[in-house]
């Protein structure tokens, strides 16, 4: 009988301690997650964000960035692809209100260090700047398109292109050209 009582006691003590810690950290964790996202959004927009409006859509989340005079300056969208070299890649894509790419940031990936992870380096990213969905052939150069693939990381490059295209499609769907003037 004694072992059962003791281990039950240990369990109860552990659980109560964890309940207290969970209670104390719940708010800081939520704040930290929010800040991480905010930081990522600030990095992809080349201007100062005055206010940020989150729009929860069916498949994804949009972030509208406004300047001081309350004009829409940019739209960020969460997009992803499963076509990475080692699975899922999550990207935060930023576009201007006229649906041209400003920049993107890779939020999550498991690509090969030193090869595929260059998808998050400025040198690779800058070729996406200013591109729009319709006017670009989104295939990599190897497949006859316009995107410069990374040496020894063609699959990662294709995946990023796919994620970016999907993000632009989300934006085009959510913000049809006519309504954004």
């Amino acid at each position: 009988m004694r072992p059962i009582i003791i281990i039950t006691l240990v369990g109860i003590l552990s659980a109560s301690l964890l309940a207290v810690v969970d209670d104390l950290t719940r708010e800081p964790i939520a704040v930290a997650k929010e800040q991480m996202k905010r930081k990522a959004i600030e990095q992809i927009f080349p201007f100062a964000i005055d206010s940020l409006n989150t729009v929860q859509a069916e498949q994804t989340t949009f972030y509208e960035a406004y300047n001081k005079s309350n004009e829409l300056q940019g739209i960020a969208v969460e997009t992803s692809t499963d076509e990475g070299y080692s699975g899922k890649i999550e990207v935060l894509l930023g576009s201007s209100p006229d649906q041209k790419i400003l920049d993107y940031k890779v939020l999550y990936h498991r690509e090969t260090p030193g090869l595929g992870d260059k998808i998050d380096k400025p040198k690779f990213k800058k070729q996406f700047k200013g591109r729009a969905l319709e006017s670009t052939n989104w295939k990599v150069k190897k497949d006859g398109g316009e995107i410069d693939e990374l040496t020894a990381a063609t699959i990662s490059s294709r995946a990023i292109s796919a994620a970016v295209v999907r993000g632009l499609e989300y934006i085009n769907e959510q913000y049809p050209k006519s309504s954004t003037e």
Binding site: I4, I29, K123
Partner: protein, 201 residues
């Protein structure tokens, strides 16, 4: 006091959990791709080790033998969850980098090993010293391996670039095989250093 010093330094050199005992190799090999990860993992593990050693040295007399291991694991899991929550709250970047390996500290056999072999048989004071010695020894080994791998594999140190973005680095050291090779080289280096300095067999 001499005994305390002995217990403390033992974790560093003679019984270093990584380079001598080869314990807890899962985090050692997996997270040492950058110095910050290595340091973070080392300190997180040290905290868990300290917590579990303290509680177990105090409570071990009350715990019957039949439920000893499950109780120890419960205690360790509790401290790991605390560390996990704290890192999520106060260092989200580290949380993103270490990810699943923080919860996996639970199964780091070094921690259960210290609880079983040391804390449950010694008093509070020595158990604290043992935890700090072993924890810092673990951190030291992780830091050594991760600096080695980061410099050679990615050409950076603590994320500060040492070479240009386009430079060719020895990629294999950033990949899993490089972890094994790097650890082997470090163990060999430390052993030969020890031999030279101590002159012992």
């Amino acid at each position: 006091m001499n005994e305390a010093l002995n217990i403390f330094t033992r974790g560093f050199v003679k019984e270093n959990p990584v380079t001598k005992m080869l314990l807890g190799l899962c985090p050692v090999l997996a997270v040492t791709t950058s110095a910050i990860n290595g340091l973070g993992m080392g300190l997180a593990t040290t905290f868990v080790l300290l917590g579990s050693n303290v509680v177990i040295s105090l409570a071990s007399k009350a715990i019957p033998n039949t439920v000893r291991i499950p109780s120890f694991i419960l205690v360790i899991a509790t401290f790991v969850t605390i560390v996990d929550l704290l890192i999520q709250a106060y260092s989200p970047e580290l949380n993103q980098a270490l990810g699943i390996f923080i919860p996996l500290i639970v199964v780091n056999c070094m921690i259960l090993g210290r609880a079983e072999a040391f804390a449950s048989r010694n008093g509070l004071w020595y158990s604290i010293i043992d935890a700090i010695g072993m924890g810092l020894g673990f951190t030291f080994a992780l830091l050594l391996l991760s600096i080695f791998r980061e410099v050679l594999g990615s050409g950076t140190i603590f994320n500060i670039p040492l070479v240009g973005e386009d430079a060719n680095t020895i990629l294999v050291f950033a990949l899993p095989p490089g972890a094994f090779a790097g650890l082997g080289l470090i163990i060999a280096g430390l052993n030969s250093l020890e031999k030279k300095m101590g002159g012992k067999k």
